[in-house]
């Protein structure tokens, strides 16, 4: 870790300047696992046992639970807030809840387990730093467990915790825990997840959630909360190459708030990766024109450097042609724009994807037309490898080859989550139909790519 950087790199005496080391860091957590395995109950328990639930909310949950003839409060109701969810007793869409301890602030995304709502689970996990995968100790690994673990692995969520839940229903048995853990770890390894940590828990009773339980004396590890508090925060962006997709060109001209800014010209965006300093040489992509950063602004404040994920505005030495959607990158280490992409996608559209289909692709701040050349395989959830396919259906994970109408500076998703992530959008109704990861691969069982029928030479 780079620890040599001075503590405060901001020039302006900003109120509450950034990078104060005592501030709690933000950790985003998403739940995963099959329907009824206890995800919502676990999130409710975590909130409840850390005293993060306001008294009017817990009173409302107790009231509803009582009306249903339950003896205790059903903590899943803290996140299952939609009418339809409460009627059916399942989670339909992600609920976001917030709580903080002395060292950490948490965003909890409680995701649905039902296969019909997989797109919502992908939504919740796509921004997660850690996925807590629940497995019912009585049932072990189910199809949705595999699907969610596959999604977690593909999204490269940095940390995975396996909560072997309902341990109260198997007499707190170490043997059952060991068996289920081994089963999950085998699937995880097949999917390339090496460092999943398993905990025996009862979300219903709170065992090993906030506090360690004395009903699992054979378990010597941390409680879930202890584990979450000790997860290292994300990598220092100094280790990454600088990239910033340009969202807007800011040129106030006559409309400037202050007459001194009529000639202001800045490129606004969020630093996707790395660090940029005043004086750095950068390159605009896809044009390849080079220039130097002469100023970095965050509102009225002037910064000496900016790093991911700050939203800033860069001023450049030369008036080169840069517009929305272009990427400003470190000159020494810039990605090559390409019109051909191989990627793994989670297909989230109701209608299937077929070779030859035209779509829109959004990467960073750029949206271009795209054409599905081939479908190179679909993930078989039993074998956890790719098998040939003519199309991808809702909730399939598949490998595709795309041709783009204009070059886009994508990166390998394994190198940069931000640089390798894209959406596929239906150009007719605007729906988001796929989450894409550039360069990702599936274990190949039998590669046999399908070609678009009768149109081999098709080019955009």
């Amino acid at each position: 870790m780079a620890t040599t950087i001075t503590a405060t790199t901001l020039t302006a005496a900003a109120p509450g300047a950034t990078t104060a080391p005592v501030q709690p860091t933000l950790l985003r957590l998403a739940t995963a696992g099959s329907v009824d395995d206890g995800k919502s109950t676990l999130v409710g328990r975590l909130l409840h046992d850390t005293k993060s639930v306001m008294s009017d909310q817990i009173a409302a949950v107790e009231r509803v639970s009582r009306d249903r003839g339950l003896t205790g409060a059903d903590l899943a109701l803290l996140t299952d807030g939609l009418r339809a969810e409460r009627e059916q007793g399942i989670t339909i869409d992600v609920a976001y809840r917030y709580f903080a301890t002395a060292t950490r602030s948490f965003v909890l995304a409680d995701c649905p387990g039902h296969v019909q709502y997989t797109r919502n689970t992908v939504t919740g996990s796509s921004t997660a730093d850690v996925v807590v995968l629940l497995v019912d100790a009585r049932k072990g690994v189910l199809e949705q467990t595999r699907r969610h673990l596959a999604v977690t692995a593909l999204l490269r969520v940095p940390h995975v915790v396996v909560a072997v839940n309902k341990i109260d229903l198997v007499d707190f048995s170490q043997e059952v825990f060991d068996r289920v853990e081994a089963e999950v770890q085998a699937v995880a390894r097949d999917l390339g997840v090496e460092d999943a940590i398993a905990i025996p828990v009862s979300a219903l009773d709170g065992d090993n959630i906030a506090e360690r339980s004395d009903r699992t004396p054979w378990y010597a590890g941390p409680s879930l909360l202890e584990l979450l508090e000790s997860i290292p925060s994300s990598e220092d962006p100094a280790h990454e190459a600088f990239r910033m997709p340009v969202q807007l060109v800011i040129r106030p001209q006559g409309a400037a708030l202050d007459p001194s800014h009529v000639d202001y010209r800045g490129y606004a965006g969020q630093v996707a990766s790395g660090v940029v300093r005043v004086g750095d040489e950068v390159v605009a992509l896809p044009s390849g024109r080079r220039t130097t950063v002469v100023g970095i602004d965050l509102g009225e404040r002037t910064l000496e450097e900016a790093f991911a994920p700050q939203s800033v505005t860069l001023r450049l030495a030369d008036e080169i042609d840069i517009s929305r959607g272009d990427v400003i990158a470190a000159a020494a280490d810039a990605p090559a724009p390409t019109q051909d992409i191989e990627a793994v996608v989670c297909w989230l559209g109701d209608a299937p994807l077929r070779p030859g289909q035209r779509l829109l692709l959004k990467h960073g701040a750029k949206t271009v037309q795209a054409f599905a050349r081939t479908i190179d395989g679909v993930l078989d959830l039993d074998d956890l490898g790719a098998v040939p396919a003519d199309s991808l259906s809702l909730n399939d994970i598949g490998r595709v080859t795309l041709r783009l109408a204009a070059p886009v500076p994508v990166e390998d998703y394994a190198v940069s989550r931000r640089g390798g992530a894209f959406l596929l959008i239906d150009g007719h109704d605007g729906r988001t139909v796929a989450a894409g990861m550039v360069g990702a691969s599936l274990r190949t069982l039998d590669p046999a790519p399908t070609r678009p029928e009768g149109d081999e030479e098709w080019d955009i």
Partner: protein, 314 residues
Amino acid sequence: MTSPAAYPQSATPAMGERRLSQLDALEAESILVIREIAAELERPVLLFSGGKDSVVMLHLAAKAFWPAPIPFPVLHVDTGHNFPEVLAYRDETVERLGLRLEVASVQDYIDDGRLRERADGTRNPLQTQPLLDAIAEHRFDGVFGGGRRDEEKARAKERIVSLRDEFGQWDPKNQRPELWNLFNPRHRPGEHVRVFPISNWTELDVWRYIEREDIPLAPLYYAHEREVFRRDGMWLAVGPYSQPRDDETVETRLVRYRTVGDMSCTGAVESSASTNAEIVLEVAASTLTERGATRADDRISEAAMEDRKKEGYF
């Protein structure tokens, strides 16, 4: 407690490492969202009530485009029962930032019979129609709202960029996937998106940010003496739209508001917090949600907010 923690490294960043504090991370996300919607859509508008959340949103928008002005107008759906000091604050803020203000007036709708006063007197649910009409009339395609997920359990479910059909309806059972930080506000003609840039902020984050950035607010957020009476466990202000019934007694109390809405159904909380720093401490120690403490209308039914949102409410 000593624990064989599974992760050897410390979660707390070491001195000098580049890490955004929670507030800075939230600010960066909000600015990203605001810029992206302004760039992708043709006619965005920002809902501005003069309340703290919409003020924070406006402050973030000003940062997002600086030194250019905010490139869209603001819209206030005026219930006609607003606190006069909030309206004054609204107008000052619009003036200070050089914004264009559109007002959709519930009173106009009541006066000409398009809407009827409800039996319970609250006008919050009446805002939906004027809001949707204003969206249609101005052909707004993106509507920024200051809703936060921590406010209410239906809001906790909503996307940052949330599609509305041609009737302005939200379909919570069929929301669009929202992946990474790639926002997709595309929609068919007649549809629009609601955008919640401060979705992930809590009430405490909002107050810490107001304190840090020294954002001016309407005075009724700070402790002041006011004539109030007790109803449904809340302190309601005595005013033109909220009068005590015979069995309710008027008292003068030191109070402040945690939310500002319709005067007839927004309760004050007893408080002596008169500075941002004091409010931060008070909010951090609070055991009630801001809606639970102050909104009579949300107590009507378990799913009051969800039902209103489905119809097109904020």
